[in-house]
């Protein structure tokens, strides 16, 4: 049935009607007062979402990876040691970008589905007596596994050492609690097609005072991502390059909705959806990749029933119910499937997903409620 497709993937996520309608308006001039007002209001709303008064925040016309490159290229110098905390595909990306920019990258990793062990991290940083580690990168919610690190505690350990902490919050911001000022997060990166409820096309970066100190010493080349260009334009209520004006207008609409719901309500909704989905899936006899305590509020990774391939299960969701669920990535490809539940997702969507999952399992002749 045309136009009935439903995405339950970790991005692009569903977009509210009022945001879609906004995208269909003629673009306004990006040097107009009307746009400046909208843009500055989004900047304020981004600060509200990240619980920060102290950090600067910039909006890039780019995918989330663009903002990740901005985070690295603005603070690193070739040869700098980077400790990259990796719990999945997207955690690896920071290390890859840092290597591309001449960083000396060390990786601390775990099995898929697990999270960073605080004691191991503590020891690793204690061993670095000469403070050679300049930067630590970490993923808050790992899209590839549905595991979420305890960011508050990790930040405490890293700040105690003194390295700069760069956080990938692409699938956590607007979904899980994240407190930039209170937790001392130096750089936080996110993307539009996740908790922000708009399509992919914008990314966001928060820059703390300590990050600006690193900027001054950084010797990596930058132009499009350059923090100073962003800051200078922001002081004039504009952007250094022609921004995606349509998406900024859509973002403003999405923020209006988010502020109406309230930040604590958004966070508790996502926690509730996650718990209901996980419990419901377990009741259907399915095994989940992550333990409850490490579960991201944005994505859940699920093992297929025994003897059923990922391809069969995805195609049952798609063909019979027009629901798209995601495959695993990298070493988890064809081993798990993933259901996204971040952004514009309600309790009704989760009940529907569970009801459909029961039918999918029945069709695949797999005993339910084993």
């Amino acid at each position: 049935m045309q136009d009935k497709s439903f995405l339950m993937i970790p991005g692009p996520t569903p977009v509210p009607e009022s945001v879609l309608v906004e995208l269909a308006r003629h673009p306004i001039g990006h040097r107009s007062k009307e746009f400046s007002d909208l843009f500055m209001s989004c900047i304020e709303d981004l600060k509200w979402l990240g619980k920060t008064k102290d950090s600067d925040v910039f909006i890039y016309t780019a995918s989330g990876t663009g903002a990740m490159e901005a985070a690295i290229s603005n603070v690193l110098s070739p040869g700098d040691k980077v400790l990259s905390l990796v719990i999945g595909v997207f955690g690896k990306r920071f290390g890859q970008i840092a290597s591309a920019f001449g960083g000396n990258v060390e990786i601390l990793t775990v099995e898929p589905g697990k999270v960073i062990d605080l004691e191991v991290l503590k020891q690793k940083l204690q061993e670095d007596k000469n403070k050679e580690i300049k930067v630590v990168t970490v993923t808050h919610s790992e899209t590839s596994s549905g595991a979420a690190n305890d960011l508050e505690k990790i930040a405490k350990v890293v700040k105690n050492h003194g390295a700069l902490l760069i956080v990938d919050a692409v699938t956590s911001l607007g979904c899980m609690n994240l407190e930039i000022d209170n937790w001392g997060l130096d750089i936080v990166v996110s993307g539009s097609q996740k908790g922000f409820m708009i399509p992919p096309g914008l990314s966001f970066i928060y820059v703390s005072k300590q990050a600006w100190d690193f900027y001054k010493k950084s010797k990596c080349p930058k132009f499009y991502w350059d923090f100073v260009k962003q800051k200078k334009s922001l002081d004039e209520q504009t952007t250094p390059f022609t921004p995606n004006v349509s998406f900024v207008c859509g973002l403003k609409k999405a923020f209006d909705m988010m502020k109406k719901e309230g930040l604590e309500n958004i966070i508790s909704r996502h926690a509730r959806l996650k718990s209901r989905l996980r419990n419901g899936l377990k009741d259907l006899g399915l095994r989940l990749l992550t333990e409850d305590i490490n579960a991201s509020a944005a994505i859940t990774a699920i093992y297929p029933p025994e003897g059923v391939s990922i391809s069969d299960i995805r195609s049952a969701y798609k063909k019979d119910w027009d629901i798209t669920v995601a495959n695993g990535q990298d070493s988890l490809k064809d081993k798990i499937f993933r259901i996204g539940h971040l952004g514009f997702v309600s309790d009704r969507d989760i009940e529907m997903t569970l009801a459909v999952t029961e039918k999918v399992l029945e069709k695949l002749k797999t005993p339910c409620r084993v």
Copy 2:
């Protein structure tokens, strides 16, 4: 009157209704076959537009400046000599990016409104007996002045020397004739909010075989802009990072319209609109910045009538007629105003603009038809 605003600026340019409607659809999954098919069709259409079979073409989720940085960072090494041909603000930008990436930039410039003198360029390159100049950058149509270089002849001179030619075609592609293969253009950059008739948010880059040779030797760091990542993904009919799927769908609609009109018709329409506007403005007694022979088919820069400020003239267009025209930039700020006429612009729009301009001049108590 709400929703009656009309942009006659060099970007964002007007967007057709059928493209706007496309942007208001729910984003589809970027790893779906449906998206791959749309995406690959846009890639083919981009080749059609640039008249190339030999070059690769990539789509970035970024402003035009992002693709300019991609052009530089994929072929340059620190210390490489770059000759930057500058006829305005956007011409300067290539030099700024190359400097940021460690290039040794020499600038060949002209007065605002003028274009590159072929004899001067020829001599400059002949003097470079040791072939130290690795890269030449040039703007086809300069947005800040409305002047257009003779790209075909410039390319001939540069290819004769052997340097790599990087072209900013942001406001020329889809508006003026540009023949990548026939003219030997190595890298060509463009942006979505111009001749492509969609809002700002995507940029495009064409990469020739010779550009790939330069890539192999390039020592500038890159990740988001990396040609190899783009090429590898394109071979799998996908993108390395989550693209702006909504805009790719909109681009496909725009290409459907462009192919229906036909490339030669698009080019002749822009030439006709340019001539009619220029002649009409001259008939109203207005003086234009560029000579007819150097005039861009995308933008016209106009001096205000004597004794009238740019601020007054822009505000008369805006307040009485709800038309936005652009100020000058840089050294031309408050000295000229600019009317954009590229993309989704018809003969009717130009007649309307001339009729309104006559009224604006009357109101400002300036004698018409002097």
